[in-house]
């Protein structure tokens, strides 16, 4: 079969326009280079009804693009109640046509399913949400059980994996958490400084920055960074393992994936988030101190003395408890989303996104619940 030739041409002519059956004559090369030039014209040359004869005796070359055109012509005419017969093909061209089964329509793809109505969408999303909540709860149960087992039998916990996670999720996150904490304290102090100055409260900046950072913003911001940085990584790692059937391999070896993959990450999250929050708090307080010293022109000792007075051990403990809860939630949700990954490559991306979004939503929910608890207990 000769090779395609970019300079080649195809000629289409209608022989005996009024004769029946109408005859279309093809001359030259019907291939990927020429088919574009005659496809539409050939379809238009078909009669509204009746049979068509295609004379291909002078067709030098026919490739898949040409056969697709012949298929299209045959299908169109068949729908009009007629037929198309092709004559004069060379033996190799005829063999190709036989392989293409011109007598059976190529199914043109059915259109995508119609858009769902609003009530259908609401119903569908509600069902999905319900299933997701159930799945989350089931995994949560397994994780709590796994973590409890690890606490009861610490020798069975893969501690080297825990230290590895503490390094990547904790130590390596220190620079970003510190920088964000510092900027948070700086921006908060800077925003408040001018108003405080107007009201003669220049000396009171520490009363704003200290409790705000330690009780609320430090743990919150640290957990959000942890969700974006480590929650997503946990989901991607476990999700990829799920796609590669590594999780199945663990199960069939009699090893519990929760103990091997999830528990070390939860322990790392529980240990590292409070520690990171301490650094975020310190950095934020330092940012506020710089504003107090250089913008409000107060001696540093005014800031530190007030800080000592307003910050209670309860504030610090509350902040640490929040960071611990948020860390456990983010790590757990990252792992759950990883374990929920479907068996296709795009699912890993979805799980990763979902880990971050769900993690942040759960941080907000947990924060609201803790705020209410604190209110009720009068802490």
């Amino acid at each position: 079969m000769p090779a395609p030739d970019a300079s080649a041409s195809i000629d289409l002519s209608v022989v005996g326009d009024s004769a029946s059956p109408r005859t279309l004559r093809l001359r030259g090369r019907l291939d990927k280079c020429t088919v574009e030039t005659i496809w539409t014209r050939a379809c238009q040359a078909l009669p509204r009804s009746g049979d068509v004869r295609i004379d291909a005796a002078e067709l030098e070359y026919l490739d898949g693009f040409g056969v697709a055109l012949l298929h299209d012509l045959t299908q169109i005419q068949r729908r009009r109640g007629g037929s198309v017969s092709i004559h004069g093909l060379a033996p190799d061209q005829q063999a190709f046509l036989d392989l293409a089964e011109l007598d059976q329509d190529l199914q043109t793809p059915s259109p995508r399913p119609p858009e769902r109505s609003f009530p259908q969408l609401v119903g569908l999303r509600t069902t999905e949400l319900w299933h997701d909540a159930r799945s989350l709860l089931t995994y949560l149960g397994s994780i709590v059980a796994g973590t409890a087992t690890a606490a009861l039998r610490p020798h069975r916990t893969p501690w080297s994996e825990v230290f590895e996670r503490c390094t990547t999720a904790g130590a390596f996150a220190l620079p970003v958490v510190s920088v964000i904490g510092f900027l948070l304290g700086w921006v908060m102090g800077f925003s408040a400084a001018f108003i405080m100055h107007d009201y003669g409260a220049d000396t009171l900046l520490a009363a704003l920055i200290g409790p705000a950072m330690v009780r609320e913003l430090g743990p919150l911001m640290t957990s959000v960074v942890f969700a974006a940085r480590s929650g997503s990584a946990f989901a991607a790692e476990i999700g990829t393992m799920k796609v590669n059937e590594e999780v199945d391999a663990l199960t069939t070896m009699g090893l519990d994936p929760i103990r091997f993959l999830v528990v070390p990450k939860i322990i790392a999250g529980v240990l590292m988030t409070p520690l990171l929050a301490v650094f975020a708090n310190v950095a934020g307080i330092v940012g506020g101190a710089l504003v107090s010293r250089f913008v409000l022109d107060q001696p540093l000792v005014v800031y530190t003395n007030l800080l000592r007075d307003v910050l209670t051990p309860t504030d610090i403990a509350l902040g640490m408890v929040k960071a611990l809860v948020f860390g456990a939630l983010v790590a757990g949700i990252g792992c759950i989303r990883g374990l929920q990954t479907a068996a296709n490559p795009t699912a890993v991306g979805k799980s990763t996104t979902s880990a971050v979004v769900t993690g942040i939503v759960f941080i907000a929910i947990a924060d609201a619940i803790l705020a209410m608890v604190v209110q009720v207990l009068g802490i």
């Binding site: 090779a3 395609p4 990927k32 088919v35 898949g64 697709a68 063999a95 190529l106 043109t108 490559p345």
Partner: protein, 252 residues
């Protein structure tokens, strides 16, 4: 008269920068034949193929496909050259977020000016030729490994290439599916005149499909033997005979 080779490999050093596997190999592939690149694991089969399809830069020597030197082709000339070849990767490499039809239509969307209906017709024909009619709307994750490979062949053939490269087509398939794939390759080669270059070490596939083969060897750092599979099987060279005998013993 011997036809002009469609692929000419001359003095090709096979390997990666800083790590050479084979020194100065050379062979020709002729239009319409099913050509096999054989050898044991790590002998440079797949690396040779990667040089031939332009994925790895040449360490030395030259490769011409349809008269164009792959290492010298730049810009539009390189794009034209790449349109002359299709590749089926070992795992199919279908795009997981697209249906089979969309996978096969993708090269047509990018490289032709046909209308959507016309591109659909060409893609549907490709899927029919590989026996996947009725699976157009399926996602790659919904079909078997053998079907994924057939879909990958359909995509490789989408732009009517002159040469289709197949990387380990039988890998991971059961003997019956593998034999069906061999028959498909043979049918496409004989009916459509496509040249196939196949990297494999499956003896059944080699004897069923390959017109000619080269046997690469890591120790010899080059081509150990070249010819028809039956000739190589009966080769007096003990290293060549060993490859075929061991494979035969291992074959089911």
């Amino acid at each position: 008269m011997t036809p002009r080779p469609i692929i000419e490999v001359r003095d090709l050093d096979v390997g990666y920068p800083g790590y050479r596997i084979l020194d100065g190999i050379g062979f020709d592939v002729y239009p319409g034949e099913v050509f096999g690149i054989l050898g044991g694991s790590g002998c440079g089969k797949s690396t040779t193929m990667k040089h031939m399809i332009g994925l790895l830069p040449l360490l030395g020597g030259s490769i011409k496909i349809a008269g164009t030197d792959i290492s010298l082709a730049r810009g539009e000339e390189r794009v034209d050259l790449l349109r002359q070849i299709g590749v089926m990767y070992q795992q199919g490499a279908l795009f997981g977020s697209m249906t089979l039809l969309e996978n096969v239509r993708l090269p047509l969307d990018e490289h032709t000016h046909l209308t959507r209906h016309q591109r659909d017709m060409v893609a549907l024909l490709r899927l029919r030729l590989v026996g996947l009619q009725g699976f157009e709307r399926f996602m790659p994750s919904d079909i078997s490994g053998g079907m994924r490979k057939r879909a990958a062949i359909a995509r490789a053939m989408a732009l009517e290439p002159r040469v289709v490269f197949l990387d380990e087509p039988a890998a991971g398939l059961d003997p019956i599916t593998s034999a069906e794939l061999d028959q498909l390759i043979l049918r496409l080669a004989k009916t459509l005149g496509i040249t196939f270059v196949m990297v494999t070490h499956e003896l059944a596939s080699i004897f069923d499909t390959n017109d000619r083969v080269i046997l690469l060897d890591k120790k010899a750092r080059g081509i150990l033997a070249e010819g028809r599979p039956a000739e190589l099987r009966d080769s007096p060279n003990p290293a060549v005979a060993r490859f075929f005998r061991r494979n035969a013993e291992a074959s089911p």
